[in-house]
Structures are given as C-alpha cells and as structure tokens.
C-alpha cells in the first residue's frame, strides 16, 4: 500500500468555526473537522480519490479522516487537518517547558486507510480513545 512522509499542519477553517458554533454534536461539525486537506499530486501518489479515508500516523497516535483536495496547491508534502478531536489524537503533546504542545509542523505518515478502518463519529472516537471510568466517591 503506498504511503507518504508528510508534514502535518493543524489550524482553523471557516467551516470548522461555523460547525463548532452550530454544536459539537452536529454532523456539520464532524464533517468540517474529520478531514485532511491534501495536495492533488500527493493524492495521485497515494492512488486514491477525494473523499476516500486516509490514515495519518505520527509518533503520538493515528487517526482516520476523509481527504479533501486542496484548493490552494501546490503544497506537496504538507497536509492540513482542522483543529478538533481528530487532530488532537495525533499532535505532539510535548510542551518543551512552555506549556504549549506542538500542533503544527509534525512529521507524519499518510496512507490509504485499511478497509476495516473508517472515519469515526464523535461518540465513536470518544468511546475508543477517551473511555470514562467512574471513580467511586
């Protein structure tokens, strides 16, 4: 299966901003953040089409998101994921003594998602990564 070494950038988009204001449980929000903007040339190298799921893996985790063909190419080797629960799985938690994790410029690998792995919804993502265990008080 083809895979690429890329630099991961995270950030805001207008759709993400609108989606979060309509509610974190809205489909509009999930669809705006569980995505990855990728250069059309990189899409060809991965031999997949727009909207196909890709798996992004960093030293800190991996997540499956939907691809969006970047409207502002070229930026070969740089992929963009909007802020949100999906991006938070794979960002660098190290703060280097500043309090600030590294949300941008992270080395990552991107590949077509294995057939059994799909883009999770917010409840599914919470269940997989943030299981709540109640402590008796």
């Amino acid at each position: 299966m083809p895979s690429l070494k890329v630099t991961l950038l995270t950030g805001r988009t207008l759709r993400q901003g609108q989606g979060k204001e309509y509610g974190k449980l809205s489909e509009r929000y999930w669809k705006s953040v569980a995505i990855c903007e990728i250069d059309p040339d990189d899409l060809k190298k991965l031999d997949i089409k727009e909207n196909n799921p890709v798996k992004i893996t960093t030293d800190y985790g991996s997540v499956v998101v939907r691809t969006i063909k970047s409207l502002r190419s070229p930026h070969v080797g740089r992929v963009f994921v909007p802020y949100g629960p999906w991006a938070s799985i794979i960002v660098n938690p190290k703060t280097h003594g500043t309090g600030m994790p590294s949300f941008k410029g992270i080395q990552a690998t991107i590949e077509p998602a294995p057939s059994l792995e799909k883009v999770l919804t917010l409840p599914e993502l919470l269940k997989r990564h943030y299981r709540k265990e109640e402590k008796p008080r």
Binding site: R12, Y22, K24, H75, P85, G99, G105, E134
Partner: protein
C-alpha cells in the same frame, strides 16, 4: 419583533460591536453585519443544549437539580488536593474573576486557553516587551499590514473588513476596489491560460504557462507604492493569501530563521546563503525595502508561530524585528487572539494574581511557571485529581494523553452546550451564553474592553457562568467552615 443594535459578537477576538439582532418571542430570527461564524453562533446556539444539570451515576449522565449538581461539584473541589480550573476564554471577565477566587479557595491551578494558544506570545512579551496600539489606530493609519502565520479570512473573518485593508480609514483608503480589480484581472488571466492550453492541445503543441511557484517569487510593484497593502507569510497558501498583495510561502518551522534574516538585512549586513527557510535572499532583500519604506506598518501574528518549533522564541524574533524597524519607521505588532475573551482572561488573571495564565494556588499564594504550572504539563505529569472546566472543550483540543488524564479524575463542566468534554464529565452544569443570554465584559484582541449584551432570556432555571461560580464559591466556603478538607 425587537431589533437590538450595537450588539458585541461573542465569536472571535475581533469582538465586532456593530451587529444588529432581530428577536421575536425570545428567539433570534435574523443577524445583520455578522460573519459566518458570528451568525452561526447567534442562530445555532440553541440546537445542542442540555436543559438540566447532569450528574454521572453508574456510568450514565442523569438529570439532577441545580442544588444537587452544585453540591456534588463543591464536594469534588473540596475533597481534591490539586484541582485544575480551566477554560475562561469564552465567558465574561466577571466569571473569570470569581473563578480565580475559587481557585485560591480550593488551592488549585487556574489556567485559561491562552496556554494552548498565545501563551508563548505572553512569555515573549514578558521577556522583551512589545510596541502595539489599538485596532482603531491601525484602521486609520496603517499602510502596510502583514499577517504572519495567521489566516484571518477563516479565523477572524471581519478583521480585514473592519480593521485593516478593506476598511475606509481617516488617512488610508480601502483596498476593496483594488482587490476587486485584481480579482477580475486574475480571472481573465486564468481564462486566457485555459484557452491557450486548450488551443495548444488541439494543435498538439503544449503551451507553457507561468507556474504559481514562479509568480510567488516575484515582488509586485504595488508593494512599493504609497498606498495600503497586505503581505501574508505562511507555510501554505490560505484564503487570506489569495487576497494579499504578496504571499510569501516559507518552510514549516523556519519562521525564526526568516525573522533573523530580515533583521540582518535591515542592519545592511550580508547574508552568505542563497535562501533562508525556502525563500531566496533577493526576495528577502526586496521585502526589507518594503518594510523600511512604509509609513505605518503592523505585523499581526497567529498561532502558526506559537505552535511550531521555536514557540516563544519565534515571537521574540518577531518583536525584535519590529523593534529594529522602529529605528526607521513606525511599526507595531499584535497577536491575533482567537477566543473572544481570551485577552480578558489574561487581563483579569493579571490584575487578580499578578500573572496572566497558569497560576498555581496550591501553596496558598499565586505561583507562575509555565511548563510546570500550565495545565497541559500538569495533566501530562498526571498530578491533578479533579477538574472544573468553564466554557471550553479540552477533550476535543488537548493532546490525547493530557485529555485522558483529565477525564480519569472527577470532572465538572460548566458550559451552555454539549461538547466532547461535557459528554465525559461527572457533573455538567448548563449555563446561559455570555453575550447572548447574559451580560458581561470582554476584551478585544487589542485590549479594549467592550460590553456584552443580553439579547434573549436564557432557558428557565439557567444561570450565567458567573452566578453558578458564585454559588459554588459560597458553598465551598461554607463547607470548609464546617470542617471539610482545607487545601490552602
């Protein structure tokens, strides 16, 4: 129908205060003058709201009375030896003030979202100071606007329209018509290119068109003219870059090098390399001429600088560049603050404790050491044993390990809406939305305080963040007097 004018938008750090809201039977029906984000907030605020407080029992969140939810929250906070109190950027200054009193009372660490936003900028400003002004000054006087690692078109949609290039200032004209002309010219050029390409394909002779990359490395003549202009510096082309007079694409994590290269060139020193951070030196030399040649320059920077390698040192280099430029012309620098009252959270924290964020009260007095007392570090070291989150969603936005450590301990959430954090909370207290259902004060990104208006009534029994926090604080004090555990 009621029309409320001059409403302040609780959307982003721009705090646009010219909104007009139409209300019918306590429902917002129309929003005028807002951007897409602001309009979504005013029209969509009621869609995913819990109606009653929730308490977790046997793994499920079940409805409870406000008194019961407050009592459970108070017990959690008083029993904890090192609780976190986090959020504060999407609520009023009045709520933050009570939050700080509460943090002192329970001996916890209080931090706001600037810790994962412009925290490094605050550290740099504390190191080297900065020259800044209000957005009004920029609107009327700035002729060169630089957005560095910032994408206001997406994150602060009305910033350009209200405060910089697309606004009509007293001494500077709007660049809106110039932008429309350039857009028309660009579209014509694209049409010509497509036609030439098609003609070439029909004749079997491909036509070479200038690549985007080649265009990006040519400084347009408009940058040297005495009129308002915009430069965008970023690691990828953004919507804002599309409307700029010039877009400088740099390699990721190389901003520090570019800043220092520009500082070197401003001092008339030579660079003994061909390019810096992916930018040819001749471009940087031309850019230096533009920076020095302006009459009033402003450098707005975004979290692209604080979240990449170098962090606070990137900002320090940017501030130093602006300081150097002030030997030749007038130049100021300003962070593009994201949440609408993150600046207010810093200001309230500073006037109450002496420190803008990451304040630790565990020893009974305020202590500040970002990297140690900042919330992501406290969580990464798994030191806290409870948390109160106000108007924020750290489970969605913190790195996974920190979020996992947050939710494994008792978690109280005060938030108007259901979000990832409230779904895994032990106590969820719905509150009135500041700026829509509750009044208050917020600080714009240039540190100008503005009043937040109440345009509709909150749902029945729904109190503001400030009122809920006051009740919790009062009950905490009462419980401690009665002999509950003291953490001072």
């Amino acid at each position: 129908m009621r029309v409320i004018s001059h409403v302040t938008c609780p959307g982003c750090g721009c705090l646009c205060d010219d909104l007009e809201i139409e209300v019918e039977k306590n429902t917002i029906t129309k929003v005028k003058n807002a951007c897409g984000m602001g309009e979504s907030k005013f029209l969509g605020y009621s869609l995913h709201r819990p109606q009653k407080p929730l308490i977790r029992k046997n793994g499920e969140l079940i409805e409870a009375s406000l008194n019961k939810a407050v009592k459970t929250s108070v017990e959690i906070l008083v029993e904890a030896s090192y609780p976190i109190l986090y959020g504060w950027s999407n609520t009023s200054c009045e709520a933050t003030r009570i939050g700080i009193e509460l943090a002192e009372e329970v001996g916890g660490v209080i931090d706001n979202t600037s810790t994962v936003c412009h925290g490094p900028s605050v550290l740099s400003i504390q190191d080297v100071g900065f020259s800044t002004c209000t957005l009004g000054q920029i609107r009327h006087r700035a002729d060169l606007v630089i957005y560095w690692a910032s994408n206001p078109w997406s994150a602060h949609p009305r910033h350009i329209e209200r405060y910089t290039n697309f606004t009509e200032g007293r001494f500077r004209s709007s660049a809106w018509n110039k932008y429309l002309d350039s857009l028309g010219a660009y579209r014509s050029e694209r049409r010509m290119q497509r036609a030439a390409k098609l003609a070439g394909e029909i004749r079997g002779m491909p036509v070479e068109t200038p690549s985007v990359k080649e265009r990006a490395h040519r400084l347009p003549h408009t940058l040297f003219e005495k009129e308002r202009k915009m430069i965008v510096v970023d690691v990828r082309r953004t919507r804002t870059a599309d409307i700029a007079d010039y877009f400088l694409q740099v390699e990721p994590n190389k901003d520090y090098e570019i800043f220092q290269a520009l500082r070197t060139l401003i001092r008339d020193e030579e660079l003994e390399v061909d390019s810096v951070g992916g930018v040819p030196v001749e471009i940087l030399e031309d850019l230096t001429d533009v920076l020095v040649g302006c009459e009033f320059g402003v450098l707005f920077f975004g979290v692209g600088l604080t979240m990449s390698e170098g962090k606070l040192r990137n900002i320090e280099a940017g501030i130093s560049l602006v300081r150097d430029l002030n030997q030749y012309t007038k130049f100021i620098i300003m962070p593009m603050r994201g949440h609408y009252n993150v600046t207010g959270a810093n200001i309230v924290s500073t006037w109450q404790t002496g420190y803008p964020y990451a304040v630790d009260f565990s020893r009974g007095y305020p202590r500040y050491n970002p990297g140690e007392t900042s919330v992501v570090d406290v969580l990464s070291r798994d030191e806290s044993d409870a948390a109160l989150i106000v108007a924020s969603d750290p489970v969605a936005n913190f790195p996974r390990e920190a979020a996992q450590n947050l939710i494994k301990n008792p978690l109280i959430v005060i938030d108007p809406e259901t979000n990832a954090t409230s779904l895994v909370a032990d106590v969820a207290l719905p509150s009135a939305i500041s700026g829509i259902e509750a009044e208050g004060t917020a600080y714009r990104m240039d540190r100008v305080p503005l009043p937040l208006k109440k345009v509709v009534k909150p749902p029945r029994d729904c109190l503001s963040d400030e009122q809920i926090l006051r009740r919790i604080l009062r009950e905490v004090r009462r419980l401690k007097r009665k002999g509950g555990r003291s953490n001072g």
